[in-house]
């Protein structure tokens, strides 16, 4: 089965969507009244930690920016493929450069799996980058400099 991503609908002009990654699984795919029920409940404690509630439970969150060179896309599969031979087509709508992720009760930290996972992009880049042959033939160790991009 092949997968196609249709980028023709990508719109950079419209306001970027406000995305929230919640620490729970909601058994629902479709629209939700985020602007009425969730966004107005968000409070900023002034130190970069956001607070909100979902279904009565306390959430603490923060904003995550995508690394340089990456673009987030909201994909929608308008029609489900009926057979294995048929290609799955995803339509890219809006672009995003950041999103908010929420923990249950605990403030966001660098130990959160999500923040740590974002480091993999830098590490992956470094270990897959071509190695300068001259250095390795000299017998000295190849050094890869990793920069921690988190704040």
């Amino acid at each position: 089965m092949s997968v196609e991503v249709d980028l023709s609908g990508v719109n950079g002009e419209t306001a970027p969507p406000k995305l929230h990654l919640l620490p729970c699984e909601i058994e629902h795919t479709g629209p939700a009244q985020v602007a009425q029920y969730f966004t107005p409940s968000i409070r900023d404690n002034g130190q970069g930690v956001l607070q909100a509630s979902f279904r009565g439970r306390e959430l603490r969150g923060g904003t995550v920016s995508l690394p340089d060179g990456y673009t987030g896309l909201v994909l929608k599969e308008k029609h489900k493929a009926v057979s294995d031979e048929e290609a799955r087509v995803f339509h890219a709508g809006q672009k995003f450069q950041e999103f908010t992720y929420w923990n249950m009760e605990t403030p966001p930290s660098r130990n959160d799996a999500l923040q740590k996972a974002m480091h993999w992009l830098d590490i992956s880049k470094a270990i897959h980058a071509p190695v300068d042959r001259n250095i390795s033939q000299n017998g000295s160790h190849t050094r890869v400099k990793l920069e921690d991009s988190s704040p």
Binding site: E27, A32, A35, R55, A117
Partner: protein
């Protein structure tokens, strides 16, 4: 009683109080504590305290305090005006616990029940009064849970105070009645003036929620009509009440939290599992680095 701090942001709890009368900083005083809005599934729970010099017992009786539940709303408002008018002699403080704060506390991972929340709020109000320089000597509290245990807990924290915890304290001690009036008036005003932040972009919310008690058919009807499939209820509702959660189980989309099946995972494995062949080939297992970050190699989008 100025509730504008709470009305500006009703997602958070808030403390409001009178000026501390000078006479209460000198003369030995008594203090009463009571709460309002413990039972309802809607709106804030309010803790009230009232204090005055012990020498003013007669004046207190003359003001005509009685259990706030036996009074009409109008009578309570009048009595609150009398309390406010006696500002040179008696002081009051209320702690409004926002419904959202109650839900957050009760649904925490480490369970924090309503009785503990009540006790902690009462302790906070006593401490606050002591800190403001009031010469407290006697404290009267309407009980929450077991009276003896609650009294021992308070005496352990405030060994210098003469503390009485008893059921129906609001009917027995005028200073507790006065506190109950402050609490009830604040609760009524907060409910009446409730701003639903959810009410925007054409989303209108009916005010016909009845008394707010789970047994009230009008309240039940309102709750059932209020369900938003994803978010559940407006934050005016206490999600931690079983009346509310049962309606969500029936009418809203299911939501699964990471911590809900923690108990099962933590269970001791059966002894047989040590002898059985492991399902996974250890060589196929991802490195710990990837496991900790929940990183997987994928070749397709999820369905």
């Amino acid at each position: 009683m100025n509730l504008c701090d709470f009305e500006t942001d009703n997602t958070k709890s808030c403390v409001v109080g009178s000026e501390v009368p000078d006479v209460t900083k000198g003369e030995p005083c008594c203090l009463g504590i009571d709460e309002a809005g413990r039972g309802p599934v809607l709106g804030p729970m309010v803790y009230g305290i009232c204090y005055c010099p012990l020498s003013g017992q007669d004046r207190l009786k003359d003001m005509g305090f009685a259990d706030s539940k036996t009074l009409t709303e109008e009578q309570r408002e009048k009595l609150f005006e009398a309390i406010a008018g006696a500002g040179e002699f008696m002081g009051w403080t209320i702690h409004i616990l926002a419904p959202n704060a109650i839900s957050n506390c009760m649904l925490r991972r480490s369970k924090y029940n309503l009785n503990t929340l009540s006790h902690d709020t009462a302790i906070g109000l006593i401490q606050r009064t002591l800190d403001s320089g009031v010469n407290l000597q006697e404290v009267y509290v309407d009980t929450v849970g077991d009276a003896t245990k609650y009294q021992d807990k308070l005496k352990g924290i405030f060994p210098d105070l003469d503390i009485t915890v008893t059921p129906k304290a609001d009917a027995k001690f005028p200073i507790v009645s006065a506190a109950s009036i402050c609490a009830k008036v604040a609760r009524d005003r907060a409910v009446k003036g409730w701003t639903f932040f959810e009410e925007k972009d054409g989303n209108s919310i009916s005010r016909k929620f009845g008394s707010g008690y789970p047994s009230d058919p009008e309240t039940k009807k309102w709750l059932a009509s209020m369900v938003e499939p994803v978010f559940g209820f407006p934050q005016f509702v206490r999600f931690s009440w079983s009346t509310a959660s049962k309606i969500l189980d029936d009418k809203a989309v299911p939501v699964n939290w990471d911590d809900e099946d923690e108990d099962e995972k933590a269970a001791t494995p059966s002894v047989m599992s040590f002898f059985a062949a492991k399902g996974e080939d250890p060589k196929q297992k991802k490195h710990q680095y990837f496991q900790e970050r929940f990183l997987h190699t994928v070749t397709d989008f999820g369905s």
